[in-house]
């Protein structure tokens, strides 16, 4: 479903140099051509054409931005919540903390579920990364990173490894072993190298590739085995804080959000930005795809969460209330996409009805800001991590 909606980024002969490479679309005198990325760079740095000056290019950019807004507005015929009026309202929700995972010595910064719907990896400010069994609350593995503020952690799809990183500017992969004689830290593999802190990481559909986002303003795709950089994604004007991969099996896109208030959708094969959205008023802390892959939600320091539809190419809903003044640090959808769970810096979790735009429930329990939130792979529960050193499983 996702692949159909975007520009077909073809692999084929470049219109300029005729080499077989991944291509991207360029417009020259209103004609669409396909150039490889090298030719795009070369075209961009060629000497000035007759009528072009920096000022004229800037004016052209401004007028294109205006045209973009116009095109988007033309299709804005109705609001999502209006279409959703005919949908049945949700009943009352009873969601409680079912497990509390205690063991971190400092702020919990990130967590991820294993595909077995049971194990959880979490990382904290003191450098500890712990793998938990959420059913029993037992700790199965623990590793101490050589740096503090481990802001990103991820579970491999196979469940056999975890990736984490933070102020060390790297993303390291640790294979998980149940052998009591083996020291987990000894098998560590450094995969990604950035020039600033690592803010988010995620395995792609396999254990072999990792996608990272960094405070240096870029995202990058790495091969785990060799540590080689496969593709880098430039375009954000400031730190990139979050990323999420499109849910489809064949999906080749991901969305990232950053301190430049922009959410950008990227094609993983070509490194090109396909769409970008700039309606938030402050840093975007978290982005998450809608389960169908046709939309994504974002949570921001401006105290709102927003839903962007990729095919309509615009924001279609805002989840906010006057009484909510603290930033949303983390968002995730329930299995059907009807509910949006958002963790806030005022220690609460708000549950929003995605379609109607109203708040369904507010969950209290954490004693400090909620920093991370993920729904389990089968949707039976969600886990929230907080600066109060604990993780809570809600169901």
């Amino acid at each position: 479903m996702c692949d159909q909606t975007f520009l077909a980024v073809v692999f084929g002969p470049c219109d300029k140099c005729s080499k077989e490479k991944p291509l991207r679309a360029v417009y020259i005198k209103s004609e669409q051509l396909s150039y490889c990325s090298l030719c795009v760079e070369m075209m961009a740095t060629e000497g000035l054409h007759e009528n072009e000056t920096l000022a004229s290019l800037k004016t052209e950019a401004e007028s294109l931005k205006g045209k973009l807004e116009e095109e988007r507005a033309k299709l804005h015929d109705v609001e999502l919540h209006q279409v959703a009026e005919r949908v049945e309202a949700l009943g009352q929700f009873v969601m409680k903390t079912r497990r509390t995972l205690k063991g971190h010595g400092n702020k919990v910064l990130c967590m991820d579920w294993c595909k077995d719907k049971r194990r959880i990896v979490s990382s904290s400010q003191d450098g500890k990364v712990i793998v938990w069994d959420s059913f029993t609350t037992n700790k199965e593995h623990a590793v101490t990173m050589p740096c503090t503020w481990v802001m990103a952690c991820a579970y491999a799809p196979s469940g056999c490894a975890i990736a984490c990183g933070g102020l060390d500017n790297k993303c390291s992969v640790y294979p998980l072993t149940f052998d009591k004689n083996e020291n987990m830290a000894a098998k560590k593999k450094s995969v990604a190298m950035h020039t600033n802190y690592l803010s988010a990481c995620s395995f792609t559909n396999s254990d072999m590739q990792i996608l990272t986002a960094s405070g240096d303003g870029t995202c990058a795709l790495w091969d785990v085995e060799s540590g080689q950089l496969l593709q880098s994604f430039h375009g954000h004007g400031a730190d990139v804080l979050c990323l999420d991969l499109a849910p489809s099996e064949t999906g080749n896109t991901f969305v990232s959000g950053g301190c430049d208030k922009k959410a950008m959708v990227w094609d993983m094969r070509s490194g090109q930005c396909i769409q970008s959205f700039e309606t938030h008023d402050s840093d975007i802390n978290s982005v998450r795809y809608y389960p169908s892959g046709d939309a994504f939600a974002s949570g921001s320091d401006d105290a709102t969460c927003r839903l962007y539809d990729l095919r309509a190419d615009r924001e279609v809903a805002i989840y906010s209330k006057e009484s909510i003044i603290f930033g949303a640090s983390s968002v995730d959808f329930s299995l059907s996409g009807r509910l949006l769970f958002a963790g806030y810096n005022d220690y609460t979790i708000n549950v929003w009805d995605v379609l109607k735009g109203s708040r369904v429930s507010i969950l209290f329990g954490h004693e400090n800001r909620v920093s991370t939130l993920r729904v389990s792979p089968d949707g039976t529960a969600f886990c929230s991590g907080s600066w109060d050193h604990t993780l809570r499983i809600w169901a």
Partner: protein, 74 residues
């Protein structure tokens, strides 16, 4: 002088790239919000029955709501 020139080439190339990016975004195919919203609704409707957080499954089938403790035989 050389620095000035290379600065202007960089900013020109950046401006050119920005223009190309905007052109690409402006010309992309979009669909109406009404259709996109209808699709989102349809997806929700289709999957809401399987969503354990909305239609709660019986407590015995939700491993988190069960009260009994988990023990493993070593």
């Amino acid at each position: 002088m050389k620095e000035l020139m290379s600065n202007s080439t960089t900013s020109i190339s950046q401006a050119r790239k920005a223009v190309e990016q905007l052109k690409m975004e402006a010309y992309m195919d979009r669909m109406k919000v009404s259709k996109a919203a209808a699709d989102l609704l349809a997806y929700c409707d289709a999957h809401i029955g399987e969503d354990p957080l909305i239609i709660p499954v019986p407590a015995s089938e939700n491993p988190f709501r069960e009260k009994k403790l988990f023990c493993t035989i070593l």
